[in-house]
Structure formats: C-alpha cells, structure tokens
Amino acid sequence: MDWSAYTSHLDMRSASVIDWSMRAAGCTTTTAKTLVLGLGNPILTDDGVGVQVAEAVATRLPLDSPVDCIEVSVGGLMLMEAILGYERVILIDALYPATQPGRIHRMTLADLRAMSVTEHSNSPHDAGLITALDMAQRMGLPLPAEITIYAVEVENIIDFGDTMTAAVAAAVPRVTEAVLAELFQSEVRSPKSVIRNPKSVIRNP
C-alpha cells in the first residue's frame, strides 16, 4: 500500500508535535528542564504513593525552581506525551504485588523493559510506556535524555481510600529525600531501603 498518498492528503505539520511538547513543558528552546512526575490514583489507597511523593517534593523546592512537579494517573501514550520536551524526568509509581510493602526500587527504562511493566504502563486503552517511548523515539520526538523511575512496593490497590497503609506511608519521606538528593545532583546517599541498580541511569541514544 502506498502511504505517500495519505501523507500528501494532509497538511503534515511535522514540527507541531515538538511545538506542543515544548509548550506543554513550558520550555524555551534553550532551557533544559526537569520533571518530577507522580503516577497513580490518589483515591485508591496505596496507589497514591507516587502522587504523595510528587507533592512532597514540590513543597520542598524553591518557588523559582526549574523543576516541574505534576501528578497524573494515565497510561503509556499520555505519559510519553507528558514527558516530551523535558531534559530529565523522575517518575514515581506503585509496584504491585509486593514482596515487602514500602520497599523502594530505583530503576531505569532498561530495568522496566526487563521486568515487563509497572502498574500503570499497561492498558488496553493505551500503549504500554515502553511501546509509547519506542514510538516517540522512532518519530524523532524530543524525549528526555534521562528517565529514572522510583517504584514503591504497595499492599492495597483494591480499596478506595485516601489514606495509605502504614508501610507505604512510611516510604514517602524516604523516596522524597532520594528524589530531592537526585535533583540537587549532590552525592546521592540513598536510604538503605532504596534498591539501586548501579547502571540505573540510562541515556537515550
């Protein structure tokens, strides 16, 4: 099938996706920005852990910080779109089922690829995160150079509620500190409970 007929049918504004993403990220062409993104449903008990961490990080940053903090509960495509235009992204999400609720994993996309998916990157209404990122890369969209994922093992994502279980709630300050340490690019002294892969920061080719 000759698809060139289709592409000529439309005004292919090839640069507009990049425009949208730069605009959404609030970027000018020269600034490199960082995004802290809490992923999860804040009213589904432990699923809100990512949201709680993103909010805690936001309150600790100076008002003029170049770091954006947002929280969403979406699948892969929307997640991919949300991070376009940023230089560096830190995602925080829940991981289920848990071997030890409250345990924190610091991961990269390579780790994610190896272990299949986090809770939110898998949906029949969306592409998985890895698929969405592969697609964005293929299309030459402005993906972050660096994506780091903090995944917290959670206990209850079945009951509606806005209070986390104790072990998961206790993990919030620890993840918050780890994210802040990473943001300030100081020596990362991760709490002992953070399982850290030495190769954990990957760079997109």
């Binding site: 589904l44 969403v72 509960s73 299949s116 509606f160 509620g161």
Partner: protein, 500 residues
C-alpha cells in the same frame, strides 16, 4: 473438558480474564469473561460534599476522566435544580467534543486499528501503535500524537487542568472562553475535521478495500442481534452531551425513548455467581440469558449502537459517512430509517464516524457567536436532595446518580458506567467468536486467540471504572481448559509487547 483462559500478566491482580471451556469433542462448551472488583467507592464518597464529585469521579480512571467529570457536573445541575446558561452548555459540549476526538483517535490507532492495519494474525509485539507506525509511516504517527496533544491542550485550557479537569460546577463552568482562546480552538477544530476525514479514508481503503477483512467483518462469528442504546437530540440525531436515551430493537424499531433520569424504570441488573460485575438489561423485555434477539433484554451501548439508535448525525460530513456505512453494510431503510448494523467489527467504522462528528460539532460550537459570553454561571438556590446526570461516554451511556442530605452531603452514590452496559453482549460476542473459531482439532495459536479478543476489543471495554478497578488498565489473558479442567493453553495479550 478443555479450558482456555485469556488472562493478563499474571503478576497483576485486578485484571480481566477470558476463560474458555472445551467439551470432550474439543468444541467450545462455555466462555466466561471475568473482571475483578475494587471495593468501597460508594463508602469513599458518602459523607463528602456532592460538589466534590466532578473532581473525585474523574479520578476513578485514567481513561475517561472527562466523561466522569461531565456526568458528575450534570448530576449536580440536577441535584441543585439549576439550569446552566446556554453558553455554559455550549462550552461543556465543545470541551467534551475535544475529549471524544482524543479518545476515539487513540482507540483506532493504538487499539482496534492494529488488528486491521498490521493484521489480525500478526505477532502481538507488532499488533500495537508502534506496529501501525512502522506500517504506515512516521508522519501518520506524528499526526496521531499531534491530534491527541492539541486536543489535550484544549481540555487543559477550557477544563482548567490537564487530564483530570476541574471546571465543572453546578449550573456553571468555572471559566469563560476568551476571543483569543476561541481563535486558537477554531484552528484546532479545523485540523480535527481534516484528521477525521483522513482516518475514515484509511479505514475505507484498508478494510473496505480488502475482501478478506470484509469477510471477517460480515462473518457470523462477529454478529450479535441485540437491542441498541444511544443518546439522541430532539431530532433523534446522535448527541454525546445531552438528550434522551433511545433504545431500538434488533429490527430497528424504537422500543423506548426515556429521560436519563428515569433510567431505573428501564434498566435492571442481572447477577451471575462467576463475576462481581452485574449485567444490565432492559427491564421491560426481561433477562432471558446470554442470548440475542427481540425477546432478550440484552442491549449494547457503543459507537455502533449509538448510530443504530439514532436517525442520523447532526453534522453534514458525519451524516454522509453515516449513510455510506449503512448503505455498504446492507442496512435497508424502513419507515425512513436504516435498519441496525449488528456486525460488531463495524463498531470501528462507527467510531470513526463519531470522530468526524465530534470534530465538526467542536467547530460548530467554537464558531458560535455566543461561545465567548462571559456569563457562565447560574446561581444555586435550591436545597439538594437527589440528582442524576448522564452523558454518552466513548464506551457507552454513563449515568451518575447521587442522593444527599439538605446540606448537599452525599448519602448514596450509584454509577452506571459505559462498559458495564456492554458486559452481557461482550460475553456473548466472546463466546460466539470462540465457538466459531475453536473447533475440534483446531491448533490454538496466538493469532486465533487474537481473533477471539477482537470480538471483545470492538467494544473498547474499560473495566477500570466498571469495577472501579486499577486506573486505566485492564490487561487480558486467555486460558484454555480441556474437558478434565486441565489448563492446556495460556496466552497473555501484552507479554511480548512488554518485552518479557
């Protein structure tokens, strides 16, 4: 007995599962589509102020927060007995049209489309949006992402927040549209119309131009003759935001047309021991089991059923596309209206017609001279007791029903969500496809199971709010059991695409 289960990644709970039981001869004896249950949504809401519901319910799920926001906002109009200004209704519907454009676009290119564009028997790793991009080219992929992003931009601008909007108020909308915003949205609406026409052309060329696909679409394996439900305007044309609920019988005669507030007089729920989710059916026809036909109260509520239930589309190009679909699929006109199309795979076509309608409707509304009127709120004075709000969500009719005390504190909450409407017909479609495709001696391949999944995928099911399940996800696994109930096959939909 042999048992087949379509199941998601096993480490997840809260997933949907299709189990297929084979008899001694190796034919399909039964097929069950099971979904999990999340608990305590009503308990979570009771005791909270009703006006928080547009912001609470849009957290139920990451797939259609805008639909919940809108149904909740309309339920508040009704609860506080306040009629929103005309401009407010137009803003809401314009906003809602932008949401429809993103949602239907995603389904066609990322979910339903890959079965046709990449092929129903392609490996699962290819049968996704990345596979579509590989097949049709990077430029079209960019169009898809661009369409999603520019409409999400409208949703954020008009709804006050990205993804989870906040602007809905009883009798109002929290902000008006400025002339500058109006001009920007007009450009976007125009791009949406172009994109919708382009998507329809792709569908027509790929599917209608391919005899093998047409055979699949028209085959008995994917045909169920049930009642059709959809919201219609005063002229019986499709409307997503407001109107009456119309139900037509399998021959296309109007069975009933009722105000959404009267839903409980028309819809009842059947319970089965093997699943938490209930099966809504037409109360005045009755539950006769998982069977189709005029005597069975099973109905469906999808893009296809909405087109079946209406007499046509309210915008010109969508009306042309509508006529083309009914003419092509052999619907005869009786008493001035087309007979329903029952081939469930035609839902993908209907969805694209709705995409075009949403784009055209968005254009009509944003070029309405009244749309920038700043008076977007009506005062609330009545004492609340009970409110019902209803919209067509992309996946079916969505109803929110609240009861409160005199302070507006919630005492009872009931949601009838889009996908729930389709639980019975989906279960029937899965069984029918499985029975037609899995026969004695059939080698059960991944491609074959995908064809079973296609029956279910046409409904674009989202069980995350149907069961109040994990936000925006409902991975799937198929497991097959033999006559001795031994598992013989287990295939996961996402395993390969996720790289495990």
């Amino acid at each position: 007995m042999k048992r087949i289960t379509i199941d998601p990644i096993t480490r997840l709970e809260g997933h949907g599962k299709i189990e297929i039981f084979l008899d001694d001869a190796g034919d399909v004896a039964n097929a069950y589509f099971q979904v999990p249950e999340l608990r305590g949504f009503e308990r979570f809401c009771v005791g909270r102020p009703a006006e928080e519901m547009p912001r609470i319910t849009n957290r139920i799920c990451g797939v259609c927060p805008e639909a919940h926001h809108m149904a909740a906002t309309k339920a508040l109009d009704n609860l506080f007995q306040v009629e929103p200004p005309v401009v407010t209704k137009k803003i809401r519907e314009m906003f809602y049209s932008a949401f429809y454009v993103t949602d239907h676009t995603t389904h066609f290119y990322a979910l339903g489309g890959p079965d046709f564009v990449v092929g129903p028997d392609a490996p699962p790793a290819e049968r996704n949006i990345l596979g579509v991009v590989r097949k049709v080219g990077v430029d079209i992929g960019k169009q898809v992402i661009d369409t999603r992003m520019r409409n999400h931009h409208v949703i954020k601008m008009v709804g006050g927040r990205s993804v989870h909007p906040v602007a809905g108020l009883p009798g109002g909308w929290s902000k008006a549209i400025s002339e500058e915003e109006r001009r920007e949205i007009e450009v976007i609406a125009n791009q949406n119309i172009e994109f919708a026409l382009f998507s329809l052309k792709i569908f027509e060329d790929i599917v209608l131009g391919n005899p093998e696909y047409m055979e699949l679409v028209l085959s008995d394996a994917y045909t169920d003759r049930t009642y059709s439900m959809g919201m219609v305007d005063a002229q019986n044309r499709v409307n997503f935001y407001d109107g009456m609920i119309r139900v037509v019988d399998p021959e296309g005669q109007e069975f009933v047309k009722y105000h959404p507030r009267d839903y409980a007089q028309h819809i009842a729920e059947h319970v089965e021991p093997w699943t938490y989710l209930k099966f809504p059916y037409l109360k005045n026809v009755g539950w006769k089991g998982f069977v189709d036909g005029k005597d069975s109260g099973v109905y469906f509520a999808t893009p296809l059923s909405r087109l079946n239930a209406a007499d046509g589309m309210a915008t010109p190009r969508a009306q042309e596309a509508y006529e083309k679909m009914y003419e092509t699929l052999g619907g005869k006109k009786i008493n001035g209206r087309y007979q329903p199309v029952h081939q469930r795979l035609a839902t993908h076509w209907a969805r694209l017609i709705e995409l075009l309608y949403a784009a055209e409707r968005m254009m009509e509304l944003i070029t309405d001279p009244e749309i920038t009127d700043p008076n977007v709120r009506a005062p609330v004075t009545a004492t609340p007791t009970e409110g019902i709000g209803c919209v067509e969500a992309p996946r079916g009719t969505l109803t929110h029903h609240y009861q409160t005390d005199e302070r507006g504190i919630l005492t009872k909450v009931n949601l009838v969500v889009g996908t729930t409407n389709n639980y019975a017909p989906m279960s029937m479609s899965i069984k029918k496809a499985a029975s037609a495709l899995i026969k004695r001696g059939t080698v059960i391949s991944n491609g074959l199971l995908n064809r079973v999944e296609m029956a279910f995928r046409s409904y674009d099911p989202c069980l995350s709010c149907a069961t109040h399940s994990l936000p925006g996800q409902m991975p799937l696994e198929v497991v097959i059991y033999d006559a001795e109930r031994q598992e013989v096959e287990r295939l996961s939909q996402y395993t390969s695409q996720c790289g495990t």
